[in-house]
Subunit: 140 residues, 4 copies
């Protein structure tokens, strides 16, 4: 398992242990790794899918939402989340980071691919989850 998948799974696991719901794009790769981690700890996972069919979700998505909007669904992930943890990722993740910062939502990044002003860098999954949950608590 590549480094970033390991980070994602760890983030998922930690979120679930804290009772947080994981919201993501619901597909494979990093998203699947994070869901697998959360579900392994009995957590709840929401997948906001690009396609129009809930059966396309990765097997660890407990609640698939079918938007039929393709990558246009990224805005819904961001609007639904209270804090964003970005793990590596390329252009798709970058669109989510941009939307989140435009909406004033906290974004924590593990090994970000591009430098964007406003992102808060974190060094470990533990730090990412702690910072995200703290930010949520502060925002009410």
């Amino acid at each position: 398992m590549p480094e970033e998948a390991w980070l994602a799974e760890k983030v998922g696991r930690l979120l679930a242990r804290k009772g947080a719901v994981l919201v993501c794009g619901g597909m494979g790769g990093i998203m699947e790794a994070a869901c697998r981690g959360a579900v392994g700890e009995g957590g709840l996972t929401i997948g906001i899918l690009p396609g129009d069919d809930i059966s396309a979700a990765n097997p660890y998505v407990k609640l698939p939402i079918a938007t039929g909007m393709g990558i246009g669904r990224n805005i819904i992930i961001v609007r639904t989340a209270r804090a964003i943890i970005a793990i590596n990722g390329k252009y798709g993740t970058l669109s989510e980071i941009a939307y989140a910062l435009q909406l004033g939502k906290p974004v924590f990044a593990l090994s970000p691919w591009v430098e964007v002003p406003g992102i808060r860098r974190v060094a470990t999954p533990e730090e990412a989850v702690d910072a995200a949950l703290k930010a949520i608590k502060l925002s009410g």
Copy 2:
């Protein structure tokens, strides 16, 4: 409580007892009544919200999804649901019924407001929930 709210609450209660997840628009009125019923039985409720803020959901929505698309979010409700139970409702419900039938999803209606070919009429909340769950099972 008006007749239709009573029907919606009953539908929510019955769905939760059968272990089904309730997906709706997440706002007040009929949607809130259905969610209240489901939550009263320990069920899970998803609200696909028109606005961009999860705090606008009715208090019985366990998992709010913020689309920011206004009534354009109706297509996401329909794509996410495996069967539709329509309770009265006017134009908003009609757009969902139209989308559902266009996508080939089963639509069961309690006291429908307009006659649309393809809708299957049901007489009671019990019949609605039984028919919907049966339709889901048949579709895999």
Copy 3:
């Protein structure tokens, strides 16, 4: 050419002669017939496409808009139009009619498929276009 395509082409032609811009879903069938009529009179046509590629528009769409939202793009057609002329049509058209009436936009129907309260029936393309343009003028 079936009756309804003939009606659509006539509506397109009349709208263009009056200087109105035709907005539609941009695909084949009724939509293509209406665009062909408008373009034949030198009119402007906008196609709000379901897909993510502007090249999928019918050849008479002058300005294709690629939404990538599938039939979820129907709400954008309705929000963009100032009056709606419905020609026959089945579930897709019905979702647009429902949205338009919910938003308080005037809907004129030539040979409607279902009876929906709020639709204003018209008998000919001439009557449809006259009524639609009059409604637009009144709304400012």
Copy 4:
């Protein structure tokens, strides 16, 4: 007029002179400056609006499209455009750049705010328009 508005107006003017249609978000600031430039040269301008009302477009939008999706409409701008010219801009522009690069569309940037791999930097409005039109021709 600040530097970036001047750049945008110049880009709009040059695009219109070449017969290109300008697609943008339809609101104020940079978008309005670009539309003003295009319309001043008799060009066509499309505004893909965040709101649900076409009357919110800036006065130089010839054809307003009302999405009602808020900043979620950025994906539609990107899908509709054949090439993207980014002028300064902050998070909103960044989400469009990210989407465009994810979809493999050419992105030309005048004074970009963040460095994103895949953006092609240009020094003047003339260079931006020449490069964009050349990219469109090459892509068919």
